[in-house]
Symmetry: C2
């Protein structure tokens, strides 16, 4: 691992072997979120990166993405918008399906979640293969938002997910090679 | 509706008829969350209520509960712990099933999410029948946490959900009768 944020954040992440299936080393961020100094440091590092950029919405992806999106939105003084699984958002949505190793997933956003031209930051807890975030990018492009950046707490570099995210600047606190 | 927090918060909530099924008037809080002043006011009102109470964890319920739990935890300077649906938490959990109108739901929390005797605040976006929050209370009691309070943005008073929540003080920003 290489760390922009120092070893202390990494030490708060718990590795769970064979979850959700055999052979996967799951990075459990709940141990980081429940640590007061850890939660504060994550949000303050993102705040320092994105303050002054006139972001008016932080857009988080269900469900762990909501944890970081909401606190950061509060810190930045902007709103938080939600990208959710099918059937969860009650008003009119646009959606995007994307392939998984087996089967497909679909994510939705309210049509009025962001305005045309609005400056948004897209955020999730972890960048793996990038399929979900690439779908989220497409949703925001269809809404004609201005994507100022894409942020993650952790990036699994060996999965090359960032290659799916095109031209947008990516910021990650912890890079795992 | 009676409002402790003033009409401005209520005006940011969108009512969606017949969601998720015919006859239900769904209160859509995404329009409140995406409003910078609305998000700020919700978190600041809860902060004013709970500051100085030595809360060390705000516990949020998946998924909209994460939005308010995380920002409030950041504001209070404490951690955020997550109560989730089955299969989502990677380490050892305890769980509670509870009845719905048709069928059952089950929620989980990591066994080490909170320490014995730790002061926690339980929070969700909306109190309806109270089944989910009553299950969450039981999980925290089994972990021997000290529940300082239970908080919601909106309470649907006509469903009498607060009666399921026993002895713990409930705080709600918007009461709908």
């Amino acid at each position: 691992m290489s760390l922009e944020a120092g070893n202390d954040l990494e030490s708060l992440i718990r590795i769970i072997p064979d979850f959700p299936k055999k052979g996967i080393q799951f990075l459990d961020l709940t141990t980081l979120f429940k640590d007061p100094a850890g939660l504060r440091k994550v949000i303050d590092l993102f705040y320092d990166k994105y303050k002054g950029k006139e972001i008016s919405q932080v857009v988080g992806i269900e469900a762990r993405g909501f944890v970081v999106a909401s606190a950061l939105a509060y810190r930045l003084g902007c709103g938080v918008s939600l990208i959710r699984k099918p059937g969860k958002l009650p008003a009119e949505t646009i959606s995007k399906s994307y392939a998984l190793e087996y089967g497909t997933n679909e994510i939705h956003i309210h049509k009025d979640a962001v305005d045309k031209g609005e400056k948004v930051l897209l955020i999730d807890d972890l960048l793996a293969t990038g399929g979900t975030m690439a779908a989220a990018v497409e949703l925001l492009e269809r809404l004609e938002a201005e994507i100022v950046g894409i942020a993650f707490i952790v990036e699994l570099g060996f999965l090359n997910g960032s290659e799916k995210l095109g031209k947008y600047p990516i910021h990650t606190l912890i890079h795992k090679d």
